[in-house]
Symmetry: D2
């Protein structure tokens, strides 16, 4: 069985996790090249893991003809350009979310992907590959909850991580709370509700960290979305969750309701002590979605080997970004925003 | 110790439960008179419980000089008039929610209450007297969750009860989903957030029961509310909950989060069987709030005996109604509604 | 409707709670007399609650011909004698558990009860009247779990209460861990399994409080019981539970399993904070069994009014005591004990 | 980095899972040879996975000098002989549990292992490598629950699997309920309590499947164990669990309690429907312990590469087997069994 040779760009926290998975835990896959602007990272992993090729320049890696696919785990601002280049060079491409930080570049990526229909393209909406989220989808397809009526999505980052975010956000454009944090939830909502957004009202504030308001961003926010099929979406995001990384999703249907992650349990242990019965919670996305990060890449490799596209498409990335922008615009203006009238969206649907 | 003599009007499901509590389970209280347009109900309870006085006409009961207080559990459309009459006759008054179904009559009640400051007046927002809701309030006052940021309230009636509702709603004005169902949640939100609403967007539909749309009402709906102190409120209400009576409240704060009733458990039993581990759920409000219905009346009696007013005031009834109307208006028009610009509200705040 | 006139003896913590229920929360019941060796308690409650008769001598109360029933909430060592006297005087009798602390006196009480078949006699196994325990029984009767195979019962007192116990136990005979703590569980097991015990092995120790070993008692212990119908019972009891009052029962059947009180939740609130998701726990028996303490007495009053006996009989008290003694004997000797060979039991079954 | 070359024997359900892990998901490891008496299995996996060597005879595989280690996943009756042979040939050895089915052969294996101290030997007590069980151990080491007092272990196989077991057990010696099912729990108890068993009483029956009694075995059983350090162990095992594969462990300590797997949740989804709130449960050991099966083998490979022994030793296998035999003897004789007086044990401790 041929092994798919991968070159990865970006060796930060999530990038390194992906690299380790690609190197050791994915069947029919070989991590053949690694690329980072931090030379020490490249040298260290090449040495420790025995990776044949190391680069500090992305363009150089794209010249490596042995590679089959490029895996993009670099900072969000680089995604679009790196996707386009890799597609032009004929590689299959996996990119971490978000597709991009600006609507126009996201639309450009969509065009690039459509120009290369024989190359596998996948965006890292890993939650769709999480066992619990997949199980919920399966239950819906079995009709267990009837027709969906409302989805509620919580996406909270742990309070422990807020200093790191503040340092990043002072010098970088994160996209803002709804694009940076809710993007996974917006994609999930579209997947479960099978509809696009019609209109949105988003509010929020900088409750414990007023300095976030100075960045014109929200620390915690909520958006109510009306979808075109008249279903409802509630999206709450925050960067200041005391108990950890809280990702929770609920789908209310005409005959039942599904909840995923009501309590974001770290593991199966309950600790009984002076305080009562305590369930400790997930500390971050790598802990919570360890299995999903593996499964999405297994699917990517399988798509390449079987010459097919994954069910997550570039459109999922585009539409989620459009909705994220509508949330952002609503939060910034205080207005109720009609999603379909958005100029970029027109471009997409033209 | 003197016993407070009560006359109750309305002996429907909840009225009868209140009557039984007043007759047998409340200290320093005597159910001295009962009133219902259904003569058989009056006769039966007088005979079975040994109640001295029975009436089929409310005005007649108000002439009974032995009574100290009037307890109103009649259909919502009668509340305002009955409150005003009882106050005029010098009685202490307890009224079931809602205060009224129309803004102008609610404002009129407020004026009537204010004209009789020495008579105890209480509106039946029993959740404030539920042990779990009280515990949450106490935790907030202890600073356990820091400052409140967001409240999420779910109020779902069981699907089993929808036929009864349809029969009622075809011939009566219920006030609509948000006034009829969310009114308790709107009151709770004001209580926990310590602020009034600024603006609201409400959406919804008639997903499993299209005939509800013909009544110009929603079967299931969601409202996002921005409060004047920039906190957020999410209110979801529905009449079609497969698993029972689901009342759930969550308060997200800057340092922690409280949830009340995550799973609306019927009792402490878990049933493990072919399907998995099953927690059966509450079937209705009398089952869920049995203790609260007792405790609120204990407080009412204590207020009379101690010559003080309860912490739930007529303003709580008025403000919740104003917000409920704003939700209703937003749902009906599709617009974002500014709550403070509402004419009735101006009246209240003048 | 005639009111049953009650005289209560014992106004300690649980006695006072019973007295308050009898005085104010039980239909068709009147607390007519109170008795305690502590004169101040008697005077205070007579004054505050308007109780007509007060006694410091139990025999004096028994001379009050207006009384219908005697309610015994005195220290365990007095139960047997007080039951016998009250029965002889023609009163209906409710006694708190345990029936007695010694096998011979318990057998004597059984004989006394049987000599007065027209007087209602009830022992305070209140758990049988708890809504959750009743629901479990009902599920079993519906066949939901098939035939019972095993019962597991946990009975843990809160660590906070251990100092109080130590003070008591140094000067009083408590009966030991299994008789004092497990007696409710032993009764529940017989009720759910519908069988008497065949043999038992009990172990334990004084893990955090070695001074309990000096009393020849266990701080925490476990008993495995084989029942005559070959079902199994596991009983764990302790006096040092960090998280509170933990009463948990599980019945494993051939087709399913029931659990009551998996987490001994104080209320419906979950507190999310630095530690994770916390369910606070019950602090003691009055908090946990508030409803059951009311319901058992409602049943006692109903039995008197309807001239019938409750389903909890004196035999339930006797058999549970016999099994408790077998546990105690096994713990003290280290031997496997055959329950049916116990001399007192022979007496009972003769 | 050198890759450890593994030859596996046994390609049944768990064997095949191990083989797949060894082939694709374990770092620094290569599945170099597979062995099964079923030639088709060997051929199929060699072809599909590209495994260099295939055998139908275990002795032939042991002649392959390229191999570093032998992985034993064959039926339990073969374990001891295959371990001894592999050790003699100089291989590192990983064996699935149980070490063996008879005390004398288990003692012989212990001697064989001790004769080859430079070869890594590991027995597949995978639960010690499960994240939740490891977390509990870590909490104990941090002193969170004080000193351990009691352990309760549940091990229930799903009712769905009972037909398969019956077919197997009619023609094979399974070791009986306690040796076959509880062996993991007995090992866990020793690990958490840090003590060996002193005495045991075990009971049980064939409640839904009387034919199991004909095999002189129990369908469901319970054992109470007194450990040498006076801590207590409760072990319940069964083959007829309606809701699935229920592995639950609780450790009660002097300052707190830990529970692992209170509800054996399949995933993070709760399904709300007519029945209530349903948590579906694990269907079997491969689903529940997927991560642990990977982690134990990662540790085995690391031990080989780092030239050290795992913390699970051959003694853990021997002692757990001795205790399992004592449970079996107690169940079969009805007697309380002193574990340390067992002849085989003397041999071990000599």
């Amino acid at each position: 069985m041929k092994k798919v040779k991968i070159g990865i760009v970006g060796l930060g926290r999530l990038g390194r996790q992906h690299a380790e998975n690609l190197a050791f835990r994915i069947r029919n896959c070989e991590l053949h090249a690694i690329c980072s602007v931090v030379k020490e990272e490249v040298d260290e992993l090449q040495r420790e893991w025995g990776i044949p090729h190391g680069y500090t320049n992305y363009n150089d890696m794209l010249e490596n003809k042995e590679l089959d696919a490029i895996f993009i785990a670099s900072p969000s601002g680089f995604h679009c350009e790196q996707i386009e280049k890799a597609l032009e060079k004929g590689f299959h491409v996996f990119t971490e979310k978000p597709l991009g930080l600006h609507l126009n570049e996201v639309v450009r990526v969509k065009e690039a992907v459509e120009k290369h229909p024989d190359q596998v393209f996948m965006v890292g909406f890993m939650r769709r590959y999480d066992k619990s989220y997949q199980y919920a989808k399966q239950k819906m397809e079995q009709g267990v909850i009837g027709e969906p009526v409302l989805i509620r999505c919580y996406g909270f980052d742990p309070a422990k991580a807020i200093d790191g975010f503040m340092n990043f956000a002072k010098n970088n454009y994160s996209g803002g709370l709804f694009l940076d944090m809710s993007i996974h939830d917006l994609d999930l909502a579209r997947w479960y509700l099978q509809s696009e957004a019609d209109s949105v009202w988003a509010i929020g504030g900088a409750y414990a960290y007023p300095e976030i308001a100075e960045l014109n961003d929200a620390e915690t926010g909520a958006a109510l979305v009306k979808f075109k099929n008249n279903t409802m979406g509630i999206f709450v995001a925050g960067r200041n969750c005391a108990h950890g990384y809280h990702i929770e999703t609920e789908i209310v249907g005409t005959k039942g309701t599904l909840r995923i992650g009501t309590v974001p349990e770290k593991n199966m242990v309950t600790v009984f002590g002076d305080q009562g019965a305590v369930k400790e919670c997930s500390e971050g996305f790598i802990e919570r979605f360890e299995q999903a990060y593996l499964s999405e890449v297994e699917e990517f490799i399988q798509c390449i080997l079987e010459n097919r596209q994954p069910h997550v498409t570039v459109d999922d990335g585009v539409q989620s970004t459009i909705l994220g922008y509508a949330c952002k615009e609503s939060f910034e203006t205080g207005q109720l925003i009609k999603v379909q009238s958005h100029p970029a969206n027109e471009a997409v649907y033209k």
